[in-house]
């Protein structure tokens, strides 16, 4: 369980501060955490607790004030923009609350976009499989503004999975969706991640989603308040161990 080579994502005294003096805001304050390959981690906390800032730094979208972020053992905080963008398109899949599809491109083009940016050949069977899994087969040529919120987010998920990243970072992926759609999308995300052996880090307000995760990290004022295996998983884990 504690095998170091298993660690895909790790932070060391990660800090992000805004402002100075009396106005100093410690959005993320000395966070040390390790996430293993294939783990499903949910990050929870109140508004302003630093969840999004942490996730952005994990994905190299934001620069830390101090501290380190290791992906596959490499400190991305020291990377130049060129190398960082390679890491982003090869190792990380992002899913945003606002879907963030490219409006000028159709569903298929949005999905294959990160592959195109990397000049990778398309694994058609794999892509068709994802599209079918996410129920987008009929919508391949549609432009994003003609899709419903759920469809758009499914497209965003497909885009995140398409490059077969080792890490999927999702910021409130169901935040803009109604409960039923949200549950569907989340289930699809989890299934897909599992199917392709990807590590999933999800920020959420949603208690149910948090409970679906292998592990839940709770943040408050930029620090980790608690970090533990979620109750459901705990039970499952116990069953597995006792069984063994």
């Amino acid at each position: 369980m504690n095998n170091q080579t298993d660690i895909i994502l790790q932070t060391e005294t990660l800090c992000k501060y805004y402002g100075s003096g009396d106005n100093l805001v410690k959005a993320v304050d000395h966070i040390d955490l390790q996430i293993r390959q294939g783990e499903f981690v949910s990050i929870v906390g109140k508004s302003g607790s630093g969840k999004s800032t942490l996730l952005h730094m994990l994905g190299g979208l934001d620069n830390p004030t101090s501290g380190k972020v290791f992906i596959d053992g490499e400190n991305i905080a020291s990377f130049k923009e060129e190398k960082l963008s390679k890491i982003r398109r090869r190792k990380i899949g992002f899913i945003f609350q606002a879907y963030n599809l490219i409006p000028a491109l159709n569903v298929w083009e949005n999905i294959v976009l990160p592959l195109g940016l990397d000049n990778k050949p398309l694994d058609e069977a794999f892509l068709e499989d994802i599209i079918a899994t996410l129920g987008l087969t009929e919508k391949k040529h549609s432009l994003p503004n003609t899709l419903s919120g759920g469809q758009q987010q499914r497209c965003a998920i497909a885009r995140a999975i398409a490059v077969k990243p080792s890490l999927i970072l999702a910021d409130e992926p169901t935040g803009n969706l109604d409960t039923k759609t949200g549950d569907e999308v989340m289930a699809l995300l989890k299934t897909s991640a599992k199917k392709y052996g990807q590590t999933l880090v999800v920020i959420t307000h949603n208690e149910e989603i948090a409970q679906m995760a292998d592990r839940t990290i709770m943040l408050a004022d930029g620090r980790i308040l608690s970090d533990g295996i979620s109750p459901v998983r705990k039970k499952e884990a116990q069953e597995v161990t006792s069984h063994a």
């Binding site: 934001d62 982003r88 992002f94 945003f96 592959l115 940016l117 398309l122 432009l143 003609t146």
Partner: protein, 838 residues
Amino acid sequence: MRKTNTVSNLALQRLRYNKSRTLLTGIAILFTTMLLMAIGTTGVAMLDMNRQIYSQSDYHASFNGLTPGQVQTLSSHIRVEALSTAEVFADIINGKMNGVLTYTEVLRDDRTDAADSNPHAQTLTEGHYPEAENEICSSPIFFRRVGADPVVGGKVTLSFRVNGKGEILTKEFIISGLEPDVEIAEGIDDSRLMWAARVSKALLQEYADAGLYEAEPNATLRVYGENELSFDEMEERILSVAADIGLDEMYVNPNKEYLSAVTEPDTDTIAVITVICLIVILFSSLVIYSIYYVGVITDVQEIGKLKALGASKRQIAGMFYRQGAIVSAIAIPVGLLIGFLLPYLLFPLTLWAYRSGSAINSYSRDAAEAVVGQIHMFSLPVLLAAAAASLATVFLSLQKPIRMAKKVSPAEAIRYQENTADKKSRTGHHTVRVSTLTFANLARNKRRTAVTILTMGLSCVLFICVSAVLSSVSAEDLARRNIPKGDFCISLEYAHYEDKEYPENNLENLVQKNYFSDAFLSQLLSIEGVEKVERAPGIILSSTDMPSLMYEDKSRQPLSYFTREDVAELSAYLQQGSIDYDRMTANNEIICTHVYSFEQYGLSIGDTFSLTLHDGSREIPFTATLTALTQPDSNFPLLIMTEDTWKSLGLTCDPTTDIYLYADDEHYDSVKEALFNIVSENEHFTMYAMDVEIMIGRSGIDLTRNPIYLLLILITVISFINLINTMITSIVTRKKELGILQALGLSDKQLVRMLSGEGLVFTASTLLISLTLGNFFGYLFYKWAKQEHFMSISRYHYPLWESIGLALVLLFGQLLITLMISRKMKKESLIERIRNQE
């Protein structure tokens, strides 16, 4: 009241928020105002300068070839306000110097303010006008030229031929006065200058009494009615005065420039200026319109929010009008100021440049010099008109965008992304590359893309089009009129009428001397650096006893030949009649090659002339029929016959009058000097050197060409502002989208490639439009300009450098904009860009 404030405040805040858009609109309006004001001010300055220059010769008409009796009648004519006479007493004989001795006299001037009315009249810097028969006055440079010391009281000996004919006389004069000195540009050959000195009435009288001088005074006069009559009425009055003294209309020469300057305040200039201003307004309004148009498309969501909050259509329109008004309030005054200062500073410089490059036309040079410090440039009506035109441009440009903004529905407020028209799907590409992104974005905003390409394209078409004409205005082409081939031309000078007193000046006698013998040509060829010496087709002179304007006053016309190969070119420029080599040979038919002379001499197709051709001492009777009028590019003498007809004449003398020399570049200067020495040994030779001819041509060309280029460049700059705006808008509004692309792994390099790809599409389409349409219309424009004899262009020159320059400026300008914007964007972290919600 509060409502108004809210709208005004909103307008102001929006201007502050969209800084780059505000700045670009401001620059576009500023440039428009500046151009309009600068054009207007230049116009005012030109009109004023013309008026001042023409007022130096403020006579209404000149009457030529008068008898003393007619002068007498004129001086007491009731309609005549002022009268002065000018007569050329004699031609100065001094090597190759072209000079005359003149006498002018004011016979009458009824104007009460006569002394003040002509502030620029040439006055003497020293001494007095000639009174005694041996007195003379001119500018110091004249005296230096004839080898005398230019001091009042000094002596100068001159040789001259009274009335330009008869015996050469030599006389010693005493300098009675000096006119202001003039400078002559270096390197201008003496044969290209005209010199004059004034002598006294006493001298003329003396020669007239001795029967040696036949006065043929030309009178310059003013008639009453300058401020009441129109141009046509003035001309009519002048002709009626001429009729009263029994002078044929042919000898009346109205001073049209002055008359139109005082009667029709410069309709031509005003028309040209109006057209240029309209072009400026057209392009500027397209650009300003395009900036606002793109602004509305971009701000649909914001406008939707305002509507959702209860803003009425009127208030939305009010907001846009106020935005326009606020920017105009700053940009227009600044534009007016710069627009005034630009010509105020540049106009004297241009004139100065013109002066230093031209010594040929010393009259207008002096005149320009005299008035340059006193040109009146400021005009309140022009200033108000420029301001009004700019405001109107802004107002018009706002109409369509405002109509669009009014139509925006409140529902737009909740759409999160830019409207992608009505398309629901797109076929798309199987794989997505950087280029896919580029084209997807351009296709998303087809109208915006089209409007930008169109404005850029139109102004570039204008640029290429006008360049085609301007680049065809070539100093070299002008120079080629005197030196059709090679680098130098040695020309045999001969009398254009029959010179009875000095028959050695007549061509038929000159050719007998065989100046251009093979031995002479070999001598030239032996000069180091001379590569080739070539004889021009020969010329023989023709004369006739028939009454004809062309052969009036015993003048003679040059006659040469054309070959069968020349027929194609001659036919291509055929204006009247027909050209058929064999028919023409069979019937002794001839062609006239100058439209202007054809009209001036009142010729018509079918005219038959009984000519005498002068081949040395032999006279060949030759009856010719004029059967064609053409105006080819190549230089041909006025009248040409076929080569076969020419051969059939059986000329006994070598009819060569011009030879062309080719020199290698390295020895050009030494060849020039050697030729100069050879030529100066023979008074009948004149030498033309390519460098001098080009310099003479260029001085005139630059004066017209440079301001037009400046204007074109400014129009192109205005259109470039539009490209900048489109690119900035397209990037700024997509900041979030670009952020997402980067989050998905688009590297900085790929981003720059994508954005410059978009810019390249603009550049490439603009270039495509300007190089196709521009060249097409440019060629048509050239044809038209040639027909109108604009700056004597004769040959089409492809505007190669202008095209390359335009392409480079577009390419690099566009890349520079892309780099600058993406650099500015990088200052924000990726996540800030993704969060950006404009």
